[in-house]
């Protein structure tokens, strides 16, 4: 763990999971492990990890080999690459998300039953009207 009063400038690497409660500027490389940025954590670095959980602030690109989760207190500005990304309610995110859930997930969606084209309206019971089709 990197405690709340600790500031690290440079590359953080190793062979165990990491919890950042302090500040890191540079790069975090823990490709086989979980990186968590706690609520007091402030990271200005690119992160490479198996999984990344963010409760604090991250400015930088994030690569998660399995998943990236931004919690309700998380604030991320950067680009994310991961098979799956989850934003919780209240999370703030600016940037891009590059996801590839794999063949099985994509096929599951493509085989899902379609939505009837005759469905219309809203939850207040008011109808919706298709106005026109210009081809």
């Amino acid at each position: 763990m990197i405690g709340p009063s600790i500031v690290i400038k440079g590359t953080v690497s190793g062979d165990e999971d990491l919890l950042v409660q302090g500040r890191v500027e540079g790069k975090i490389e823990l490709n086989e492990h979980v990186v968590s940025v706690g609520e007091s954590g402030r990271v200005a670095a690119d992160i490479f990890a198996k999984a990344v959980n963010i409760d604090g602030e991250v400015t930088g690109d994030i690569t998660g080999n399995e998943k990236v989760v931004i919690s309700k207190s998380g604030n991320v500005r950067g680009n994310i690459v991961a098979p799956r990304v989850t934003l919780e309610d209240g999370a703030i995110f600016k940037g891009s998300i590059d996801m590839d859930p794999g063949d099985a997930a994509v096929k599951k969606v493509s085989l899902a039953p379609g939505v009837s084209s005759s469905s219309s309206g809203s939850d207040d019971g008011s109808p919706a009207f298709d106005l026109k089709s210009n081809g």
Binding site: A91, S96, D98, P101, S119, D123, L131, K132, N134
Partner: protein, 195 residues
């Protein structure tokens, strides 16, 4: 609090997209959890640009960046990026005709003749501001959340006015919703203007 609204056009939109291919999506507005969750089922790259939080404004002040320069800074995507799908939810209600032209002008390099778009807009100028944020719950349902506060830059266009201001985009389908709002499907109507 999240309300749900049936969408007649999202299913139509996704039926026109090969979801087994990799998608590149532009989302204008803040990232909401349900939209990320929905697209997590696809091979895709999502670009979130929250124009609502940093809406470009024209200024007469000397040295102030032009609208084009402001949009260019906000729509600064990697070289070669081409969007399959753009989600314009409500943004045209907050841009005047000059800003729409600047926005579409800066978006032009990232659009192809097969780019599709979905959006919400006002049906007429008197349509009141709803202050909604939108997210995709599924192909037939849009989640609607309150934005928090109404924006002073609300300048809704009547449908015909908007249609005439969309440059290379055209409105291929529209559905009248409650509160005099529209759900819209856009496609490229004038591919010659993309060159």
């Amino acid at each position: 609090m999240t309300a749900k609204q049936t969408s007649k056009l999202l299913s139509s939109l996704f039926s026109r997209i090969d979801i087994e291919e990799r998608l590149t999506v532009l989302h204008i507005g803040p990232a909401l959890p349900e939209t990320v969750e929905y697209f997590s089922n696809f091979r895709c790259k999502l670009f979130f640009v929250d124009l609502f939080s940093e809406l470009p404004q024209s200024s007469d002040e000397e040295g102030a960046p032009s609208l084009e320069e402001q949009f260019a800074g906000l729509l600064d995507f990697p070289e070669g990026t081409k969007f399959d799908l753009c989600l314009f939810w409500d943004i045209f209600n907050f841009l005047d005709s000059i800003a729409i032209a600047a926005f579409l002008g800066e978006l032009r390099p990232y659009v192809t003749s097969s780019t599709l778009a979905h959006g919400f807009a006002a049906y007429k100028r008197s349509t009141p501001q709803t202050g909604h944020l939108y997210g995709i719950a599924d192909q037939g349902t849009v989640n609607i959340r309150p934005r928090g506060q109404l924006m002073s830059t609300y300048t809704p266009h009547a449908q015909n006015e908007l249609k005439s201001r969309l440059d290379y985009f055209g409105i291929s389908r529209s559905v009248l919703l409650p509160d005099s709002r529209l759900e819209l499907l856009f496609s490229i109507s004038q591919p010659g203007k993309l060159a």
